[in-house]
């Protein structure tokens, strides 16, 4: 077990650190805090956070419907939730780009001159090859997390607990906010955090759907890839380390959440 973790997890991470920190500190710092690097951190984190929150809201809703309602095709929908995990992310990128580009089924609705697009001015709303596309790709690849963390908790919830609240005079809305929702919070937050870290690290689909313009829609993972293409291994490593810190910080938050949920569960 230890060997497995050593080989699969710790060794690669240690190598990353070793390569990164072999640079002189001032050089490390200048790469890590360059204007472009900062811009990608900002774009990556804000879009990933947005998509994680979006998945938090809608994932909870989907989990609710899947657990509480019976309808034809439910099994099929339940099974297809995991598609974003199974699909190669590059394929996801291509498919999403097709759908959301100016000529795509959905992209067309927001194209210049279209009724919906006009709401955003003459240029319309550009989905693919811009930030919204990155947001959509991130949301797509991290979609299953919240659903899959919330579903089991909802399934374990006894109907009787709700009935008890009704008998005490609670309306369905009150019952939801006071009785059903609070026990879901830890699992929703865990799902959101997982989705967030997945979105931060996403490369395959994002690189395809984005225009990858620096300071516009370029995310950190794409910047790393560009550095590698230019044989700038130290540069790639430094940005990689910065992203790693971000992930560790997130894992720490997830751990706190799990502690909290196990205490009140």
């Amino acid at each position: 077990m230890v060997l497995y973790l050593l080989l699969m997890l710790f060794l690669p991470i240690l190598t990353l650190f070793a390569t990164g920190f072999s640079l002189p500190p001032d050089r490390f710092w200048s790469i890590a805090t360059s204007n472009l690097a900062w811009a990608t951190y900002g774009i990556t984190i804000s879009l990933a956070l947005g998509s994680a929150v979006c998945n938090g809201v809608f994932g909870t809703l989907v989990a609710w419907v899947l657990v509480r309602y019976d309808f034809p095709g439910k099994k099929l929908i339940d099974a297809s939730i995991d598609i974003p995990f199974a699909l190669p992310t590059a394929v996801a990128g291509v498919v999403l780009t097709t759908v959301y580009s100016e000529n795509g089924i959905l992209g067309r609705l927001f194209a210049p001159g279209s009724p919906l697009g006009s709401l955003w001015g003459e240029e319309g709303l550009r989905l693919a090859f811009a930030r919204p596309g990155v947001f959509i790709a991130m949301t797509f690849v991290s979609l299953p997390f919240v659903i899959r963390t919330v579903q089991p908790v909802l399934e374990d919830m006894e109907k009787e607990v709700e009935e008890a609240a009704w008998c005490l005079g609670a309306s369905p809305a009150t019952t939801f906010w006071y009785v059903i929702f609070p026990p879901l919070i830890p699992s929703i937050l865990t799902g959101v955090a997982l989705a967030f870290s997945r979105a931060v690290g996403e490369f395959g689909s994002v690189v395809i759907i984005a225009a990858n313009l620096p300071f516009d829609d370029m995310v950190s993972s794409v910047l790393i890839f560009q550095r590698l293409e230019q044989f700038d291994y130290p540069g790639a490593t430094v940005i990689g380390i910065m992203m790693l810190f971000l992930s560790v910080a997130l894992l720490f938050v997830i751990n706190l959440l799990q502690n909290w949920s196990s205490k009140s569960g």
Partner: protein
Amino acid sequence: MEQELGISVKNVSKRFGDFVAVDRVNLEIKAGGLAALLGPSGSGKSTLLRLIAGLELPDEGQILLTGKDSTYEQVQDRNIGFVFQHYALFKHMTVRENIGFGLRIRRVPHKQIKARVDDLLELVQLRGLGDRYPHQLSGGQRQRVALARALAVEPKILLLDEPFSALDAQVRKDLRQWLRRLHEEVHVTTVFVTHDQEEAMEIADHIVVMNKGKIEQEGTPAQIYDHPATPFVMQFIGPVNVMHRQKEQVFIRPQDVVVTLSPPTEPGTFTDRARVKRIINLGWEVQVELSLDDGQSLMAHLSREQFADLALTVGQVVYTTSKDERSFPLDYVI
């Protein structure tokens, strides 16, 4: 003269698909009473309770709570307390928050809630455990929290659905007596569902025996036990021997079997010769299994003194009569 009204169920039916769970039931429960709905699983007792609570809506009939037609009234407006078999506590809330929930959503001021919760914790003997979470409590304690939570909103009617069946035998016994005492203090009209006849006899002052969605018989525990109306009630309430004699089914309680060493002298009494097959000494009573000459077996429950006087041994030949028995025609379908 206004008489206080309890629960009145009029010609109520409830179907689930093709299954008739409750079949045209009529029932009156007097205010302040403590009634038991007793029956095997699937007899419709829980459904009837849920209909009274408003957790199910009847397909036909009428339900009056304290004189008011509540057939289609929302659960929330019925002012009932309901206690579930598996407690149904809010796991993310402390004991205090659970008990105070009904008051909190009614926007009762915090001070009043605290005072009321303190009183209730005292009542259910859980003082000092108010800040625990449900998972830190034993089953018996959880059920008392559930009861306190139900009582917090001062319901007109308290309904309990198999409240003790998930608990250990000893805890169950304690809680039964405790519930009886509690009812004497609180005096709220109470209906509880059970499949355990002993529990019903011990707690309730009115027993409603249900079978297949219908009421078989209702009355005081003594009426039900001493004058069972149907073979079903006879068999369901307490142990009973079922004997076949000619075209009749004869029901004899084991404690009504009289065992003698010689044939009784009074003429006209029905006597059977039997052989002692097995003796089970429980300490407070002795159960003797007898094998009649015609092959049927008969259980007799003897007191220690009776057993000592007879000095029975396995294989011994004895004579049996009965102090009391009830017979129903053989074709009576249960």
